[in-house]
Amino acid sequence: MSSTVTLPADVLSEHPASSFWTLSRLAGAIILLMLALFAFLGPALIEADPLSQDYDAVLVAPGDAEHWLGTDQFGRSMLARLTHGARLSFVMALLTAASAALPGIALGILAAWRGGWVERLLVASSDVVLALPGLLLVLLLLAFSPGSFGPLYLGLALYLWVEFFRVARIEAARVFTQPVVEATLRLGFGWGYILRRLLLPALAMPMLTLFAFAMGSAVVAVSTLSAIHVGLRPPTPELGAIIVELMPHYSEAPWQVLMPATAIFLLVLSLQLFAGAKPR
């Protein structure tokens, strides 16, 4: 249980303020770095073609001399598919999360800043989007160009922005009520300065956390969509799709199913450790 006394700041002021690099943040950064190396250097370093099939080496268990991580149901190298899949999934998850986060945060700040009917309108529309099944959005966009990335990720972004909006609005509203905003404006600074120096730093950590979760959600959503055969076209190596493809082989090749899931897990975990806080 935490201590009952909050000591006045100046009593313990000589203690070094906890530095930015906490242990868990460091661990997160290291995992993240390793994943990034795997995803972005892997495809260049590994010669195996993620698409080349070898019907004589199907579902080889991991640990094989030729296929370190084994092979999939078509005898494709799991290592190659995972690195390529990770690259694609990470980049796309990053794009999705970014294209959800930017408008989400911007609108959240706008709502908190302008208040009144602007805020009410934005909140109402976010509520409506929230109540729409995300699948419907994705499906609609996919109908225009089936099997391509653009609409798939745009659809996901359209549905993920709400969470950014909600949190950003609440955080921004909290910042805007602080006297420091009034004080800073009165000193002659503009809203730009407030945005840069006050709002964005205050939003950074909660948004980073949300971002981590949004990236995870994006990858998981793609795999969920693959499971109902809406989404990417085979044979594209994408982590979520790899899970779906291998799922029927869960009893013959459990490791192969777990590998892409582990990659997604490590991505979310590392981002979360790095962000250091949880979703609100």
Binding site: S125, I243, Q272, P279
Partner: protein, 312 residues
């Protein structure tokens, strides 16, 4: 409170309009001839041919201009005439009526189970931030969120149905059948609520009233029970609103794996068969479910938080 419920009502109307418009857009945008799709849906792929499609086209007046069809479509929608399923030919309302009951049961049970697991673990973690308990729940929660729900579903089946044989694998009709899908859904939900609860608990333990409750002589247990849990539950409850999305979305995949006849199952099939009236109907039902559950959350928040209650 009245105002909030009014807002929810307006949200409902907006959802109906949005779903209607999107569904119409979907109908028009889907590749291929709608008459053909409808015919294929009705009579199966092996039976369908263009002659039948022509019959359908004439029957449904698909030759009308787009704007006119849109007006008719929305008009029908606002009169709660959701049309007929392209696949079964039965009125969509009838089909959804059945499915909604099943889904509602599943969703509520999942919700209840997740409330049992998530906040409990979250509270424990929050009372001991940095402990092994905290770290374990973090990793567990992340893992549960990183694993697609269908993988989790298969895992649950392998463990509880095939290996232990405690629960039926799939199907519906008894409460035993509800348990596995509900737990699968609940785990995902619990993963998130446990983290929210954990943070809320950490924050509450730093509140002066929490410290003072100890100083006034209450045991640790009493402090947590009387002052920790309720206050920490407030943000969790508010967050439930967002979590419900996960529930409603999770229903989609979980139901189809567990052969459970809910709206999620229906949505997946409607999507695979491009059965737009059913897509619209199920989307409406899910949107409605979301709004209704959210209203319940609103009510719950008011019950939990006297500040809101007095404001009501």
């Amino acid at each position: 409170m009245k105002q909030r419920l009014m807002l929810r009502l307006m949200q409902c109307v907006a959802v109906v309009l949005m779903v209607g418009t999107l569904s119409f857009a979907l109908m028009v945008a889907l590749p291929g001839d709608p008459a053909m799709r409808i015919a294929a849906g009705r009579y199966g792929p092996d039976m369908m041919n263009s002659a039948i499609a022509d019959q359908v086209r004439a029957e449904l007046e698909l030759e009308q201009p787009l704007a006119q069809r849109f007006v008719v479509w929305m008009g029908d929608l606002l009169r709660f005439d959701l049309g007929h399923s392209l696949v079964t030919g039965a009125p969509v309302v009838d089909e959804i009526g059945l499915q909604l009951g099943h889904s509602l049961m599943l969703a509520l049970l999942a919700f209840a189970i997740s409330l049992l697991i998530g906040p409990t673990l979250g509270a424990l973690a929050g009372l001991m931030p940095g402990s092994w308990m905290d770290r374990t729940t973090l990793v567990l929660a992340t893992a549960l969120r990183a694993v697609p729900p269908f993988v989790l579903a298969v895992l649950m089946m392998v463990i509880f149905a095939v290996t232990l044989r405690w629960l039926p694998t799939a199907g519906f009709g008894s409460w035993q059948h509800l348990l596995l899908p509900a737990i699968t859904l609940a785990l995902g939900l619990a993963a998130m609520s446990s983290r929210v609860m954990r943070d809320a608990m950490v924050r509450v333990t730093r509140e002066p009233y929490f410290a003072h409750a100890r100083l006034k002589g209450l045991s640790d247990r009493a402090v947590v029970q009387r002052h920790g849990l309720r206050n920490a539950s407030l943000p969790v409850f508010t967050y439930l609103g967002l979590q419900l999305v996960y529930l409603v979305e999770g229903v989609v995949v979980v139901e189809s794996i567990f052969a459970f006849p809910g709206i999620g199952h229906a949505l997946v099939h409607a999507i695979i068969a491009r059965d737009v009236p059913m897509v619209q109907g199920t989307a409406l039902a899910m949107g409605g479910l979301f709004v209704v559950l959210n209203s319940l959350v609103d009510l719950g928040c008011v019950q939990l938080d006297p500040r809101l209650r007095r404001a009501a």
